[in-house]
């Protein structure tokens, strides 16, 4: 077995599973602050209950996020030691900052938020929620800075022995790629949280339970969802795409399935890339659109994969193509669904229209799919480089950790994460089934009444 492939799968699996949780908690942290703000300003107890209910969901997600996140920091060293050795002087900086700043912030204030409501004033409890939000969003930024540096290295110099040294701290933190990627990623987190919140609201309405809470969830979910899905596409997605086209032209060609350099290149809506024949099977193409999206004119020339040496094509190229298309396709669906729902909310009949409640209830997994596909687009798109243009992935992994050892621990993680996934689903189902009724105040504080 090829150790490179094994290490890639190992990291890809653990990071993909991990990111199912923070994408919800980062988005939810914002929505909880919104609920808390309404609660404190209006004195509406339902909003306090709603925040508490989502706090519990947050807590379970946060736990799984933390325990699956710790391996990520280790894996840089365990599986990608040579990459870490050469680049640690640069990206160790934001990673250490994440640990020192945001992790402390989040875990401390989450404790206060979950266990301290009775001991804190209303505004202090609001403050705890806000600090959790701040911590998780700062945390996200440091991680994105790390990833963005691998996508678009800045603020470094390379020493004769091959190690990278940091030359500008602000340059690293203000990497333009990081700013765009962060905006796009955070919008994605809010999309996920909005869909989950709206889904639970729709479920309660269709079941005719906890109706007053269901309305709060739907309203919050649909408003936040319609804003964030739109921001997802414009300006963040648009900017991000143009940045990729400019800095990683081979990636863009592979994402679009553009095998040949073209003037007035189109966008393939569907079609299967065929690497043997270097064509797109069953294509459905909107002519000239790609040239327009990237360069603003319909006739501009776009470099195809044939422009780049074969060993510099991102691999596996078809997976990159599909990931990108799934992300973009779902993004379009999200805008449409949330747009309709927002319209009905404005008209005042969202809560009584089953044909919109059903898709709202059932769509909650889709943002997870879209986000995962988005990450795969970014990460496979960066291949074959671990630091784009500077360091190839095959030199980065731990050469003394054999493929067999990597396989063994990969299987271990699979087993562990399957178990975690099952436990997670049971617990979340239980919380949702129980619902946010008033008695839940006691559930969070003592178990004796249960």
């Amino acid at each position: 077995m090829d150790p490179l492939v094994m290490h890639r799968i190992h990291f890809g699996f653990t990071v993909t599973f991990h990111y199912l949780f923070p994408q919800l908690t980062m988005g939810l942290a914002l929505l909880i602050v919104v609920l808390k703000t309404v609660a404190v300003r209006t004195g509406n107890e339902h909003y306090h209950d709603a925040a508490r209910f989502w706090g519990k969901i947050f807590g379970i997600n946060f736990l799984i996020g933390v325990v699956t996140g710790i391996p990520m920091e280790f894996q840089f060293g365990t599986n990608w030691s040579h990459f870490s050795r050469l680049t640690g002087g640069v990206i160790g900086q934001p990673l250490a900052m994440e640990g020192v700043f945001s992790f402390f912030l989040e875990s401390t204030f989450l404790g206060l938020f979950l266990f301290g409501e009775k001991r804190l004033s209303k505004w202090a409890h609001w403050g705890a929620a806000f600090m959790v939000f701040l911590g998780s969003w700062i945390s996200g930024y440091f991680i994105i800075v790390t990833n963005a540096w691998m996508q678009h290295p800045v603020a470094y110099k390379i020493l004769p022995n091959g190690t990278f040294e940091l030359t500008s701290f602000t340059g690293l933190l203000m990497n333009p790629w990081a700013l765009i990627q962060y905006a796009h990623t955070m919008c994605g987190a809010v999309v996920t949280a909005s869909f989950v919140m709206a889904s639970v609201g729709a479920f309660y309405l269709l079941e005719n339970r906890f109706v007053e809470y269901a309305r709060i969830f739907l309203k919050t979910g649909v408003i936040a969802g319609s804003i964030s899905t739109m921001l997802m596409i414009f300006p963040t997605g648009d900017l991000h795409g143009r940045y990729v086209a400019k800095r990683q032209a081979a990636t863009m060609a592979a994402m679009e399935g553009l095998f040949h350099t073209e003037k007035g290149a189109g966008v393939a809506i569907i079609g299967q890339p065929n690497e043997q024949t270097q064509t797109l099977d069953n294509p459905l193409v909107v002519n000239n659109l790609l040239s327009f999206l990237i360069y603003g004119t319909t006739s501009a020339q776009v470099q195809g994969l044939d422009h780049f040496p074969r060993e510099n094509w991102p691999q596996p190229m078809p997976l990159l193509y599909y990931s990108y298309h799934i992300m973009a396709g779902l993004g379009t669906y999200f805008v449409a669904l949330m747009g309709v729902a927002a319209f009905l909310l404005w008209r005042g009949n969202l809560y009584t229209t089953p044909w919109i409640l059903w898709p709202l209830m059932l769509s909650f997994p889709l943002p997870y799919v879209a986000t995962t596909a988005g990450w795969m687009t970014a990460e496979i798109g960066r291949q074959p480089w671990v630091v784009y243009g500077l360091m190839r992935t095959e030199v980065g992994f731990s050469k003394y950790v054999s493929a067999g050892n990597a396989l063994f621990t990969f299987l271990g993680f699979m087993g562990m994460y399957t178990l975690l996934g099952i436990l997670f689903l049971i617990l979340i189902y239980r919380e949702i089934y129980r619902g946010p009724h008033r008695e839940s105040v006691h559930h969070t504080t003592t178990l004796l009444e249960e």
């Binding site: 379970i60 736990l63 933390v66 325990v67 699956t68 710790i70 391996p71 920091e73 280790f74 840089f76 060293g77 365990t78 030691s81 040579h82 870490s84 050795r85 680049t87 640690g88 002087g89 160790g92 900086q93 990673l95 250490a96 900052m97 640990g99 020192v100 700043f101 992790f103 402390f104 912030l105 875990s107 401390t108 204030f109 404790g111 206060l112 266990f115 009775k118 001991r119 190690t163 040294e165 940091l166 030359t167 731990s398 050469k399 003394y400 950790v401 050892n405 621990t409 271990g412 562990m416 975690l420 436990l423 049971i426 617990l427 239980r430 504080t445 003592t446 178990l447 004796l448 249960e450």
Partner: protein
């Protein structure tokens, strides 16, 4: 600059051992000292609000090592591949064990998660001790500064050792006993009644083994790695550290007999800090010694990153630590005093 970061990383790891140490200790002990369901819940509630904050010191310490000494991070994390993966799994199981226990009120569920929490706490303590033992003993570093250690070879400290050999096993057992005592004292501080009595009894029972193991480990370290004494001989004042270790051990015994649990817990903190500092003094300026050739040692100067990064790091690190200490003070004040299951605010 590299020296400063050596001590900062060491300080963060010491913080981790002292803080997560007591909640690991509670994890080890709670099956034995907490008999009824209420007592179990009380034991877990004593660490419930703080354990994950404590664990952050590991994350922050690891991140700081990565940033300041990338070579050591890369070499040791890939070299200790298998034990680190096991540590990761144990950390996952432990977090799940304590956090999920209270979510479902079934006897089977609770017993299972209690067992899981205790099991992972015991193994973690042993692995941490063994890990420190490995770092003190040294590893077979190659010319390229990499190595790979299997879990065990022939249990001897030779040129091709395993993670576990007689020396590191002593470290593992010592860590288990030391953290259990630490956790027992914490429980005695935070609880009352039968649970508190049994926690004190456990401490009294374990004190003898702790004392013997501490002596054995000091002697074993001088045998396995005589170079550890170099700094001590150069600065004889450093010999106050082992003296302090012995005094703090005596303090634990005397103070816990007097039922002055808080003071005994403080003595245990001093004991852990001095043991760790003593090890760091023995190592400095090496971060990861080579078992064969000291020319291959990963020293502070060889493995540190650029000075610019280290200087910038000082600023945000200092700021971040001030904030973190602030949070911890708030948090521990918030949940100070004895655990009370009925007042609300505790539990899950």
């Amino acid at each position: 600059m590299g020296t400063i970061w050596f001590w900062l990383v060491a300080a963060m790891l010491v913080m981790y051992v002292v803080l997560d140490g007591f909640d690991i200790g509670v994890g080890v002990l709670h099956l034995f000292v907490a008999k009824t369901n209420d007592e179990r819940r009380m034991a877990l509630a004593s660490i419930g609000p703080v354990w994950d904050g404590n664990e952050v010191w590991l994350i922050a310490g690891g991140g700081t090592l990565y940033f300041a000494f990338p070579l050591v991070y890369a070499s040791s994390f890939s070299g200790f591949y298998l034990p680190l993966m096991i540590v990761l799994w144990l950390l996952i199981l432990r977090g799940v064990g304590i956090e999920l226990r209270g979510h479902i009120n079934l006897r089977v569920w609770e017993v299972f998660f209690d067992g899981l929490f205790a099991f992972s706490s015991v193994l973690l303590a042993v692995f941490y001790g063994a890990a420190l033992g490995n770092v003190i003993r040294g590893v077979p570093l190659g010319e390229d500064s990499y190595f790979f250690l299997p879990l065990w070879t022939n249990w001897r400290v030779g040129p091709s050792p395993g993670i576990l050999d007689w020396y590191t096993v002593i470290g593992g057992v010592l860590a288990l006993v030391a953290l259990t005592v630490h956790g027992g004292l914490y429980l005695a501080v935070k609880t009352e009644g039968a649970l508190q009595k049994r926690a004190r009894k456990a401490v009294a029972l374990l004190w003898g083994p702790l004392f013997v193991l501490t002596l054995i480990s000091l002697i074993a370290t001088m045998t396995v790695r005589p170079q550890s004494l170099r700094n001590y001989n150069a600065h004889t004042v450093a010999y106050l550290i082992p003296v302090g270790v012995m005094l703090s051990l005596a303090g634990i015994l005397v103070l816990s007999r007097r039922h002055d649990d808080k003071a005994a817990f403080r003595a245990s903190v001093v004991y852990l800090v001095l043991m760790m500092v003593g090890a760091a003094v023995g190592l400095y300026p090496v971060l990861l010694p080579s078992i064969t050739d000291s020319a291959l040692d990963l020293t502070v100067e060889r493995s540190r990153t650029g000075l610019y990064a280290l200087h910038v790091g000082m600023i945000w690190w200092g700021f971040g630590m001030l904030l973190a200490i602030g949070y911890f003070v708030v948090m521990y004040r918030m949940f100070r005093g004895k655990v009370d299951l009925h007042s609300g605010g505790y539990g899950h």
